[in-house]
């Protein structure tokens, strides 16, 4: 262990990795701070750049830019009550109320300080949990992988803040998309309609660029320009943060733990973590009445949570190739491209690369503090950048980025357009796009394990349930499938009880 740990340092502290980290940090800060541009979009548009970087530098750009973007999303939330990324939406009101009370520095400071701490704790969790789980995962057969993948897909439908039926529909759509092409157990062209471009399947990166970047550009056309940022002198950003850390230790740790766990759940990322942590903080608070009036407590917990979720998302991604959130859904594609194929053996065969990844995570979160302060100071100018000129340039980036990510195939531009429309319409109508994206990314893996298992068992269902771990995973999957029904029945019963008072 120690030798691969030491071997990781020269991998990270090279000129190209350092330059890549600083450049992607600035890029992530700006993208995150601009309302309407999300951390996932930042990652999707980075992919063509990662082609030309070394494996470690490529991963460093994704980790650094996403961490910075999630923090920077808090800045417009604090200053103009518009979340920069969806991950800040849960506590935007609270942060803005603090600004109205004249505590803009404290609010921004909490977001920065607890984001960095959250990111560091999340990384430590990743460092401790992932290798331990890898030991267990080494004994998994296709049966376990099949159930694990299905369980991941079901999780992504459970965590969606929408109808579970629509979430399952979105997931199945993603699986159907993954059926297209000849990459199936028999190598038969499936649903290609005679097109040679479809033979290779739907390029996942192009689809993700459509869903996460072009759909945002489309949405911008139906929304009014955000209000201008008022001129405000800001004092010391980090003043009083140590005192707050001492005052709310429980909230911070709870935020870290909940964030990491939610991040590790497939399909749920930083935005979900922030919502859950904010409401947990309110439920367990001694001063619940102060929530919503500019009270730092919820901000501490949710801010600690959403950045911890980023690291949590990498746990299932690295171990099983199951993305923990939409950012790692893109990152998995880059990992494969760079020869770091996800799987439990990654932690033994490429151990030094994994240590390099942890070091990058820690560095990125440390770098966040000085760069974050600089960004807050410059936010007045950055937020002035007119959306009406940024969105058109991003649209061209979508076209060019997908074209180069799909091996310089112009066909990818059509895929972007198609998935832009699909993502936009789905989001408008309550179909969670994250569930579809997981379906697209994991489809091949689900099918392979499904078909291989069926061949091994001679078409019998029994072996799917006879191995202990497989049976446990299957049990959890069925709970996840029927949970909405149970929840609905309980609610229905409660409403019946309320309607008919005691006889």
């Amino acid at each position: 262990m120690s030798s691969s740990f030491l071997a990781a340092f020269p991998l990270v502290f090279t000129q190209d990795v350092m330059i890549a980290m600083i450049a992607s940090a600035i890029y992530g800060m700006v993208v995150g701070a601009l309302p309407g541009l999300t951390a996932t979009m930042a990652t999707a548009l980075l992919v063509p750049v990662t082609f030309y970087l070394s494996p470690i530098a490529a991963i460093a750009t994704i980790i650094t830019s996403s961490a910075m973007a999630i923090f920077a999303g808090d800045i417009p939330g604090c200053l103009v009550r518009i979340p920069g990324t969806p991950a800040s939406a849960a506590y935007t009101d609270e942060a803005y109320k603090m600004t109205l009370k004249g505590q803009a520095e404290t609010a921004l400071g909490i977001c920065l300080w607890f984001s960095a701490l959250g990111g560091i704790v999340g990384t430590i969790a990743l460092l401790l949990i992932a290798p331990a789980l890898a030991e267990v995962a080494l004994s998994f057969s296709t049966f376990e992988y099949f159930w694990l993948a299905i369980l991941g897909l079901m999780c992504s439908t459970l965590v969606a803040r929408s109808s579970p039926v629509k979430a399952i529909a979105a997931m199945l759509l993603g699986l159907l998309v993954s059926c297209i092409g000849i990459e199936n157990p028999a190598g038969t062209p499936r649903f290609t309609f005679g097109s040679t471009d479809l033979l290779g399947g739907i390029d996942a990166i192009a689809a993700l660029v459509g869903v996460f970047a072009l759909a945002e550009v489309m949405r911008a056309l139906t929304q009014k320009d955000p209000p201008a940022i008022p001129d405000r002198k800001l004092g010391s950003i980090l003043k009083g943060q140590i005192a707050l850390t001492k005052r709310y230790p429980k909230q911070q740790i709870r935020g870290n733990i909940v964030g990491t766990l939610i991040g590790a759940l497939p399909g749920a990322g930083a935005d979900m973590a922030a919502w859950v942590s904010y409401s947990l903080s309110k439920r367990f608070s001694k001063e619940r009445e102060k929530f919503g009036t500019g009270h730092p407590e919820g901000l501490v917990e949710a801010g600690a949570s959403n950045n911890a979720a980023l690291a949590g998302g990498w746990i299932p991604a690295l171990l099983f190739g199951i993305p923990g959130d939409t950012i790692t859904a893109i990152a998995i594609g880059v990992l494969y491209m760079k020869g770091l194929n996800p799987g439990p053996t990654l932690f033994t065969e490429k151990a030094s690369s994994m240590y390099a990844l942890y070091i990058i995570f820690l560095l990125a979160n440390l770098l966040m503090i000085p760069l974050g302060i600089a960004m807050i100071r410059m936010s007045k100018h950055v937020l002035k950048a007119p959306r009406s000129l940024i969105m058109p340039v991003i649209m061209v980036f979508c076209a060019v980025g997908a074209f180069s990510a799909a091996g310089n195939n112009l066909y990818a531009v059509l895929i972007v357009a198609f998935f832009g429309i699909a993502g936009y319409l789905m989001e408008e109508n309550g179909f969670p796009v994250a569930a579809m994206v997981l379906g697209i990314v994991m489809g091949t893996m689900v099918e392979q394990n499904f078909v291989t298992s069926l061949i091994k068992s001679d078409g019998s269902i029994l072996p799917f349930l006879s191995r202990p771990i497989a049976a446990g995973l299957a049990f959890l999957t069925f709970i996840a499938l029927f949970w909405p029904l149970i929840a609905w029945l309980r609610r229905y019963k409660a409403s019946l009880d309320a309607a008919s008072p005691a006889r």
Partner: protein, 164 residues
């Protein structure tokens, strides 16, 4: 843009039916029970079921609950909603421009097509008129420079040669 659950549900069910039928017609692997048709048939059957459930408004109460929670965090803004309704068709401009890029970029070249795309979208987003021309020209040139020179992506050159 809202589509009624009846329509989207029926659409999904039909898509599922098509996937099931298309999957069932795939040639089997000789000597094996399961082949390329198993997975699309399972997915298609699932889509048919959820499509019908959606058309019957099952699960709608979960959506209403989530919407109510979200509404608590947002103050109603009738002006923004009216704007959104008025501009709903504008949302399809970016994908339409992408299709135009697909059709034209090889013949006309990257820079002119990209510049016109930027200009059209900036105009639709009500950008300052005097900024549209410089941003579209320098934006297209800048992206071309980065992708062709730095990242070595072969963007279509078109009849106009670039100085780099």
């Amino acid at each position: 843009m809202r589509i009624s659950d009846r329509i989207s549900g029926v659409f999904l069910a039909l898509l599922g039916l098509a996937a099931f039928w298309g999957g069932s017609r795939l040639p089997p692997v000789p000597g094996q029970q399961v082949g390329p048709s198993a997975f699309p048939m399972v997915v298609g059957a699932g889509l048919m079921i959820v499509g019908i459930l959606i058309a019957l408004h099952i699960g709608r109460s979960f959506e209403e609950q989530a919407e109510a929670e979200l509404a608590k965090h947002r103050q109603p803004d009738p002006e923004a909603e009216a704007f959104q309704r008025r501009r709903r068709w504008f949302a399809f401009l970016p994908p339409a421009l992408m299709v135009a890029y697909y059709l034209l970029s090889e013949r006309v070249g990257f820079v002119p097509v990209a510049a016109v795309m930027i200009a059209i979208l900036a105009f639709a987003l009500n950008a300052k008129r005097q900024l549209i021309l410089p941003v579209s020209i320098f934006g297209a040139l800048g992206i071309h420079l980065v992708f062709v020179k730095l990242l070595r992506v072969p963007l279509p050159p078109g009849p106009l040669p670039m100085p780099w």
